[in-house]
């Protein structure tokens, strides 16, 4: 069985064009859904497929759609999260570049299932080429009757627009994304209310990651059972692992959920670069707590990684070798979150900056005996106490680095 689903046709020349895409079976799922299924049936199929969000939190997509109230006299919106800001993550870019129509197809079906007539694709600011590609695909889809009024004669209407971000990581957080889309500062909102009930312009809104939505056509076309077989019972389908770092073949690898981390690194990504030895892996984007070389026999799915105190997140696998100083890793993490904290809430705004100041001082060789304790204490005081998950995204990897690599870090302290 060919394991690949989303990336299966990536080799096909000109896949981004609608005729080529259709030649590979594209847009048939839209026909199936809109012509032969009720919205409720689509929703049900997605629920049964145990498709969990690919943006980071792993929330079941069908359940999320089900939260959207159908009886309020307001429009409903879909926001496609294409902000892809998590360091190490580049899968959505590949998906949109190679196969933009797949995302559009998923978007159309999701909108149909939830009763949505306007969708926005929020694209990371730096992804200019991607934005252009999406716009081209959208124009093609309109011309071919897949978007606009009365899609395929079914009476279903949907408009899709691309919105480009301005380069802030926080705008990938769903409520900050909504603020940004509304033209405001990308400050996360206080939850509840959740976007499903009060989202874009105060209307019920679904927010899904690019990869999440790209799975939808396959679920509709092949059924939930088929999809589940490609992953795990509680975690259906494949994942696109973006492997970077000291491996021979960095890149994206679409594999079934539950594939062992060791297999990803050593079988698919070609193993460590010549002469390099594995020291640590960040398994799910920078926000994921670090794993040591001893922990790579973990299956890569949401629950297994959560069980090991880390997370699958965006499935970006960052491979770190022994020559890389753990202080450099800590420096990169501390700097990133301090830079990307939106500044709204106290513990994250000041805590990340404070940690960053300590780490920078450490790196200058001006460390003090209690610095590591201080970092741990500060990260602990951020953890679980912030307005949005960025606080935890900063605190957890920092804590894990300090805990698992304490000895090495202590080597940077002045000797007593």
């Amino acid at each position: 069985m060919d394991e690949k689903v989303l990336t299966r046709h990536f080799g096909v020349e000109g896949l981004f064009r609608i005729d080529v895409y259709r030649g590979q079976g594209g847009y048939r799922a839209v026909e199936t859904a809109l012509k032969r299924m009720t919205p409720a049936a689509v929703l049900d199929e997605v629920k049964r497929a145990s498709l969990r969000g690919r943006g980071g939190a792993g929330f079941p997509a069908g359940v999320k759609w089900g939260f959207v109230p159908q009886n309020v006299p307001k429009p409903r919106y879909l926001c496609v999260n294409a902000d892809e800001g998590e360091p190490g993550t580049f899968k959505d870019r590949y998906l949109m570049n190679h196969n933009p129509h797949l995302l559009l197809e998923g978007t159309i079906i999701a909108s149909y299932a939830v009763g949505i007539h306007a969708a926005f694709i929020y694209v990371r600011g730096e992804y200019e080429a991607v934005a252009l590609r999406l716009e081209g695909a959208i124009a093609e889809a309109y011309r071919n009757g897949y978007l606009g009024k009365n899609i395929l004669g079914t009476g279903f209407d949907l408009d899709v627009a691309v919105h480009r971000g301005a380069g802030a990581y926080i705008c990938g957080e769903e409520t900050a994304l909504l603020e940004s889309l509304e033209g405001k500062r990308g400050h996360p909102r206080l939850k509840p209310p959740f976007p499903a009930s009060v989202g874009l312009f105060q209307c019920p809104t679904v927010i899904n990651n690019v990869e999440t939505l790209s799975n939808i056509p396959f679920i509709v076309q092949n059924g939930a059972g088929w999809f589940l077989k490609r992953g795990l019972p509680k975690d259906g389908g494949t994942r696109i692992f973006g492997v970077s770092g000291m491996v021979k073949k960095p890149g994206i690898y679409e594999l079934p959920l539950g594939t062992k981390l060791r297999t990803i690194i050593f079988d698919h990504a070609g193993g460590m670069k010549e002469g390099k030895q594995l020291k640590a892996v960040i398994p799910g984007g920078m926000s994921a707590p670090i794993l040591t070389a001893d922990e790579i026999d973990l299956p890569m799915d949401f629950d297994s990684l959560a069980g090991a105190g880390s997370m699958l997140g965006s499935a970006a696998v960052i491979v770190i070798d022994r020559e890389t100083s753990i202080l450099d890793v800590l420096k990169a993490v501390a700097k990133f979150y301090s830079h990307e904290s939106c500044g709204q809430c106290t513990p994250c705004r000041i805590g990340t900056a404070w940690i960053n100041k300590i780490v920078k001082r450490l790196a200058r060789g001006e460390g003090e005996q209690d610095d590591i304790d201080a970092i741990v204490r500060l990260a602990t005081n951020i953890k679980g106490k912030t307005l949005c998950p960025l606080g935890d995204a900063a605190a957890l990897p920092i804590l894990s680095i300090c805990q698992k690599f304490r000895r090495e870090l202590e080597g940077y302290l002045p000797h007593a």
Binding site: H339, C345, R349, N381, G384, T386
Partner: protein, 514 residues
């Protein structure tokens, strides 16, 4: 009404309240910075975190709505630890300039540190350097080092004045409150910003560096500068050390009244307190030609009563005129009616008020007097102070110094020269002083007890927040004294010995005041 448990205490609280409000309503304060009752919860300072039974994380008291059976801990070790850590974060980047900060003594950060902090700073890094004297508005200086980014100021400008002048600029640790370079906060409510800033980040140039708040005595009062009747607090020096001996009031602040002014007052009322100490009448004098004699009110009352008595005796009631104004209290207007009109049959009641100004859509009314509605409800029939009608009277009792406004000085002089005896009861000096025979200083609203009826018909009692020293007499007492001297309805007036007693009569006799 849901029943919840706060620190093991079972309490019933109103539906829809947040935990913070519910706890506050039963006297359990929960520390907070960004929460302000005027706005929806912001949830950014993280100071209000509390423990809710059954939930793994600490939750926000400012945004969690009460539910039947909820068990909350507001003082558990976890909660206290969390508060401490928020304080530690805030103070890490906060300057230690409390000794020169106007907010010291009423600063939430300082207060909470005393209560929950008291740790030794472990911050070894360099604090961010920021602008300390940014001119934010007409009266406002922003110290960005002191700002804790609670965004109360931003939300006030978005939601209350709707001027949307300010926002947060930059990101993360570089976040700061800012305005457009070409702009400047200049609206009639800007003074509220210094009041709602929980720390000393926004200070008021009017108050800056003038005194320390712990020298001030705070007294509740009603702003008399327009007919809204905003509830205020007057902060005055309790005596020591008085750097400016002529000035008693250092600051006027809004006092919450959700039925009248919410949490706000306008700048016209906030900064308009100079009148309390400036230009006041301070000597009770009797003038004969160029000679001025100081005398006591008792003496003056005897002379005036004598004059009234003889006129009434000769049935010359119509040759007596009374000029009133609507900065008098309900009680005083009521007494004026009962003593002069009903008691003595005086019909010539005039009304001389300060001219109206421009009102705004929010609190400030065009009517710049405090009690026009009170006058209406008391039902005093008054007429405009037509100079023709005044001139030729035998006796004119003028309350207020407003007669001088709006008439030409020479016309006024001519008219008053034709009045035999003129007594002026005024709080402030004016052109009238030279035209009358008696000048009798009276207190302003802030210096007496009574009640006012605001534009919406709300009767608001108040007590003196400042003392009235010197020669004069409050109008209500003057009216009672005249009634007593003249033996008008002795039994009736002898019972009305205080503003409270007068108000009781008012309530009994005029249905509106029930």
């Amino acid at each position: 009404m849901p029943k919840i448990f706060i620190d093991d205490r079972a309490v019933e609280v109103a539906e829809g309240l947040t935990l913070l409000q519910a706890a506050e309503s039963v006297g359990i304060p929960i520390p907070h910075f960004c929460y302000h009752p005027a706005f929806p919860p912001e949830g950014s300072c993280r100071m209000c975190l509390v423990e809710i039974e059954g939930l793994p994380k600490l939750e926000l008291a400012c945004s969690t709505v009460v539910k039947e059976g909820l068990r909350v801990r507001t003082m558990s070790p976890k909660v206290v630890e969390a508060r401490k850590s928020v304080l530690e974060f805030l103070l890490a980047e906060h300057p230690l300039d409390c000794p020169i900060c106007d907010k010291a003594g009423e600063c939430k950060l300082q207060d909470y540190f005393e209560e929950y902090g008291l740790f030794k700073s472990q911050f070894k890094e360099a604090k961010e350097k920021r602008e300390k004297k940014f001119k934010l508005g007409r009266n406002l200086i922003l110290d960005r080092e002191r700002c804790i980014l609670c965004t109360r100021c931003v939300r006030f400008l978005n939601e209350i004045t709707k001027t949307e002048d300010a926002g947060i600029l930059n990101r993360g640790i570089h976040s700061e409150v800012g305005i457009f370079e070409s702009e400047f906060i200049d609206n009639n409510y800007s003074g509220n910003l210094a009041q709602i800033c929980p720390v000393g980040a926004i200070t008021d140039t009017d108050f800056r560096f003038k005194t320390r708040v712990w020298f001030l005595e705070s007294r509740e009062s009603i702003c008399p500068l327009c007919s809204r009747g905003c509830n205020i607090i007057m902060d005055s020096h309790a005596g020591y050390p008085r750097t400016l001996p002529t000035r008693r009031v250092y600051r006027v602040r809004a006092r919450q009244n959700l039925d009248v002014n919410f949490h706000w007052i306008c700048d016209y009322g906030r900064y308009g307190y100079a009148y309390l100490d400036e230009g006041r009448e301070d000597r009770l004098v009797w003038k004969k030609g160029d000679r001025e004699t100081r005398l006591s009110w008792d003496k003056a009352a005897q002379i005036l009563s004598e004059k009234i008595r003889s006129l009434v005796h000769l049935r010359k009631n119509s040759r007596i005129g009374i000029v009133l104004h609507t900065n008098l209290t309900n009680e005083e207007l009521f007494l004026a009616d009962r003593v002069f009109r009903k008691g003595l049959g005086v019909e010539k009641l005039f009304l001389a008020d300060p001219p109206p100004g421009k009102g705004d859509e929010f609190l400030l009314t065009a009517d710049r007097t405090a009690n026009r509605r009170g006058l209406q409800e008391v039902g005093l029939p008054v007429q405009a102070p037509d100079l023709k009608a005044l001139s030729g009277l035998d006796l004119l009792l003028i309350f207020g110094h407003y007669l001088a406004a709006g008439t030409s000085p020479s016309d006024l002089k001519n008219a008053l020269e034709k009045v035999e005896t003129k007594a002026l009861f005024a709080s402030h000096k004016s052109g009238l002083d030279g035209l009358v025979d008696f000048v009798i200083p009276v207190p302003v609203i802030a210096e007496k007890n009574g009640s006012l009826t605001n534009i919406d018909g709300r009767v608001q009692p108040f007590v003196a927040g400042l003392s009235f020293a010197g020669d004069g007499i409050a109008e209500w007492r003057a009216l009672l004294d005249l009634a007593r001297e003249l033996k008008v309805e002795h039994k009736y007036f002898s019972r009305l010995a205080s503003p409270e007693a007068i108000y009781r009569a008012l309530r009994k006799e005029i249905p509106f005041f029930k």
